[in-house]
């Protein structure tokens, strides 16, 4: 199993009457609710928490991209990832990911991901989401019915830029580039592993299967509701004639909170879980799914945006609702272990994106939960899929000797010795 500690980076100061008084947490959220001075503390704490998780044996630490969003203050995950690459040693830097249709030209993603891979010593796991309709269409103005075509072209361009050693011309519909020649290029060959976050589009299943990318279902509604969707994916893996059904072909995001006992978990974490599920997810339904964003085929399969309100509207969810519904896995280490084992086996997923900072959770509680998970839960779950232990196709391959940040020699007190310049041998 691969465990990635994930922080969505929610803004922790949404007011108590947010849901009643405000139109949406996303797209047209009231800017006055953001306090840049307070954000200084928030950003640094959130990055500290990611770094902390990196010291506890998590396989990866994860960031993602959202725009104009009250529960994700990370429009540029690459900026956060760059900081993490410097301050962590072993954990994979999981950027899940860059919405590649939004970068102009998408070569920018090939370059920035290459920089992250080089700085981190080959620790990058790259994610290429189509992006939610909120981000892609309503915030960044992409035409819904053309988004997927533009995404596909961006993907082809990035892969070609990563894998072609000579300058090439790229005559795309959305990108006309005469001299593609990225510099730097990634350490990992032929390119860093790629994970594709999806929400049930059949086309995305096929895209992952055909390219040997890992399919990630990033939902907040938990593993019980995800069973039908993931079964659809695995059925498709079989239909499409993939060579294997490795669990690492799939990933799943799950909110997790650990305490000494189930009761303690509720007492400690309920306010923050409540903040996230009953306040942060207040997305105006008109922004959930721009017409044309989802393909007709996908709508016909009944897959609706997870942001669209259920029929009858959202009710106030209780701790009991969230635990029983599987939105949240919380409790003692043993409770959490059992449920995660159930999750991994029933969804057949090898990559778990652990959402362990929840809502407005303060650092102390987050560290407590994270430490308990790392010490008492994670080791018990390592070997759920022993037959796939050697499947490294979907994970990063760092170089052996990696630089340590801050390793300059002592500042010279006099002119350094006149060491001759090392010649660069001619080819």
């Amino acid at each position: 199993m691969k465990f990635t500690w994930f922080n969505l980076m929610p803004w922790p100061y949404l007011p108590d009457d947010f849901r009643e008084k405000h139109h949406s947490v996303w797209v047209d959220i009231d800017q006055r609710l953001f306090d840049p001075v307070k954000s200084h503390e928030v950003y640094n704490t959130y990055m500290d928490l990611l770094e902390y998780a990196g010291t506890l044996g998590f396989d990866g630490i994860g960031v993602n991209e959202h725009h104009q969003n009250g529960y994700g203050i990370m429009p540029s995950p690459n900026i956060i990832a760059a900081g993490l690459a410097r301050r962590t040693k072993d954990a994979a830097i999981v950027v899940l990911g860059n919405s590649i249709a939004l970068y102009n030209p998408p070569v920018r993603v090939a370059e920035e991901f290459a920089m992250l891979d080089c700085i981190s010593g080959g620790r990058l796991v790259a994610g290429f989401p189509v992006g939610t309709s909120m981000d892609t269409n309503y915030c960044y103005g992409q035409i819904p019915a053309l988004t997927r075509e533009k995404y596909a072209e961006a993907h082809d361009l990035i892969i070609k830029a990563w894998t072609t050693r000579d300058p090439f011309a790229f005559n795309g519909r959305y990108n006309k580039l005469r001299h593609v020649n990225i510099w730097p290029r990634p350490i990992q060959q032929p390119h860093p592993p790629i994970h594709i976050p999806g929400g049930g589009s059949v086309e995305t299943y096929d895209f992952c299967i055909d390219n040997t990318y890992s399919y990630s279902y990033l939902s907040f509604t938990g593993y019980l509701r995800a069973r039908a969707l993931m079964q659809g994916y695995w059925n498709r893996v079989e239909e499409r004639g993939a060579p294997d059904k490795s669990p690492y072909r799939a990933g799943f995001a799950q909110t997790i909170c650990v305490a000494e006992t189930d009761e303690e978990a509720e007492r400690l974490y309920w306010p923050h879980v409540n903040y996230f599920y009953n306040r942060c997810l207040h997305v105006y339904p008109g922004f959930a799914d721009a017409p044309g964003y989802r393909t007709i085929k996908t709508i016909q399969t009944g897959a609706l945006s997870q942001y669209a309100p259920p029929r009858g509207g959202f009710a106030e969810l209780t701790w009991k609702d969230l635990i029983e519904g599987g939105h949240v896995i919380a409790g003692s280490p043993e409770t959490v272990r059992q449920r995660l084992e159930d999750l991994a086996k029933s969804l057949h997923v090898g990559n778990i994106f652990c959402l362990m900072h929840v809502g407005d959770m303060p650092a102390e509680k987050c560290m407590y939960s994270t430490k308990l998970f790392a010490d008492k839960v994670m080791p018990q779950l390592r070997n759920i899929f022993p037959e796939w232990a050697d499947d490294d196709r979907f994970w990063c391959h760092p170089i052996e000797h990696r630089a340590v940040a801050g390793s300059l020699p002592p500042a010279p007190t006099s002119a350094p010795g006149l060491a001759p310049r090392q010649p660069v041998p001619a080819e």
Partner: protein, 258 residues
């Protein structure tokens, strides 16, 4: 009206045909068209009407290779050509008006009579047009009709909102129609028309519902001043769906250029 099909390069196009008199091509708006639309009844009582369904609308399949304004305008001319028409009266409502205006700017010598009914296509910073793509169904009538209550009844007549199958069909229809419309209208319904309207040579009438809250009536004078000799007819007690609320007034305005 009869429902027929004509072949074009992009897709077989379904169209409605009826009435006697001069040939008139009617281009529907982003909300689509049905054979029962009151505007079609009014027009067919005066003209020989051809009303094609754009790709993604009605029984015309969606078409991935129509992507931008030029594609749609040329497709419009392809349809006119395929119907065997020469200089028909060109009428368009809302998005259809935007396409008709582009067609007239692109081929000014092929159209001598043009009717734009609260057309999309211009953008005034001081009068932003509502983001129709993020509106929920129940919010629509307030923007579309002078009388939203009566409008809501018009929109939902014959539909069973409690039927889950209906909801599924509704989502599919919405995705097909507005998915195509989005190529011209999302996120801002403007694709450079203002820089091309000077080319229009047709005798042009612009019709606007005075209570239009989708594209405010202030856009009427903006179109009028951009097209030489255009006249503007403001229709009282009508909204963006002036074609449903005051179809007779619209048909009379069409007669004025015919």
């Amino acid at each position: 009206m009869d429902s027929k099909t004509v072949e074009t390069r992009h897709a077989p196009i379904r169209y409605l045909e009826g009435g006697q008199g001069e040939a008139l091509v009617y281009l529907h708006g982003a909300g689509g068209m049905t054979p029962d639309d009151p505007i079609l009844a009014e027009l067919t009582s005066r003209f020989h009407v051809y009303a094609p369904y754009l790709p993604g609308y009605g029984e015309t399949e969606e078409c991935g290779s129509l992507r931008d304004m030029l594609d749609f305008a040329l497709h419009g001319w392809d349809v006119v050509e395929a119907l065997g028409l020469n200089n028909p009266i060109l009428v368009g409502h809302s998005m259809g008006g935007m396409i008709a205006a582009e067609m007239a700017a692109l081929a000014p010598n092929d159209v001598s009579r043009l009717v734009l009914i609260c057309p999309a296509g211009l953008w005034l910073d001081e009068h932003p047009i509502v983001d129709m793509f993020s509106l929920l169904p129940f919010e629509m009538p307030g923007y579309l009709f002078h009388d939203p209550e009566a409008g809501a009844k018009l929109m939902t007549s014959g539909l069973d909102l409690s039927d889950p199958k209906f909801l599924q069909d509704y989502l599919v229809r919405n995705a097909r129609q507005l998915g195509m419309a989005g190529k011209l209208l999302f996120p801002i319904p403007e694709r450079g028309l203002a820089e091309r309207l000077y080319r229009v040579k047709a005798k042009t009438v612009i019709v606007w519902g005075e209570s239009d809250r989708m594209i405010p009536p202030i856009y009427g004078p903006a179109f009028q001043s951009a097209i030489a000799g255009a006249t503007l007819v403001n229709v009282p007690e009508a909204g963006h769906m002036v074609i449903a609320e005051k179809p007779e007034a619209v048909a009379k305005a069409v007669e004025a250029v015919a």
